[in-house]
Symmetry: C2
Subunit: 105 residues, 2 copies
């Protein structure tokens, strides 16, 4: 049996989930970030390589990598002086693939 309070709570949780969802999609909603993700599609790269490939300066890329890492869309590991980034999981690819399907109609 559901009380009114429970319904209220449920609605609240949904609200929070929707905010989280919006935050996630924000990560895909900027061309620099999408370029970075796309650039990592083929495999891991260090920051310099990403900068070269997407032709964007190091600071901007680092800032965006930080955001992507926060959203758990990329991982990083150190290799000597370099930090190597890679896609965190398959969802990244799936989400981008769905987006591509939509615009290619």
């Amino acid at each position: 049996m559901h009380t009114h309070d429970e319904d209220y709570l449920l609605k609240d949780i949904q609200e929070e989930e929707l905010l989280d969802l919006a935050d996630l999609f924000k990560m895909f909603a900027d061309s620099t970030r999408i370029k970075i993700l796309y650039s990592l599609w083929a495999g891991e790269k260090n920051v310099t390589e990403i900068c070269d490939e997407i032709e964007m300066n190091q600071s901007a890329v680092s800032h965006q990598l930080k955001a992507l890492k926060n959203a758990k869309l990329v991982r990083s590991k150190r290799d000597g002086k370099a930090i190597i980034y890679s896609l965190a999981d398959e969802h990244v690819k799936t989400i981008i693939a769905m987006g591509k399907e939509h615009i290619e109609e």
Copy 2:
């Protein structure tokens, strides 16, 4: 045989596609718009109903509906005084579902 020009062109098309992709994801990257899409998940609704459900004023909702329609994520049809909106296709649901999967880990 690929000429240098063709490669350049190809790169250019990808660039444009990435911008389009980012624009698409922008639609999902705002809580008002995500609420609207979610509200239409169950079925078509007119503007007033959407406003009531997501507790947002009519002007803001209309502005966002316009953006969503531009992105071909919702459709609309007139019914007397009202305009009835609905999700444009299944991609909307798939994309949101993928997003939910990611954050629910």
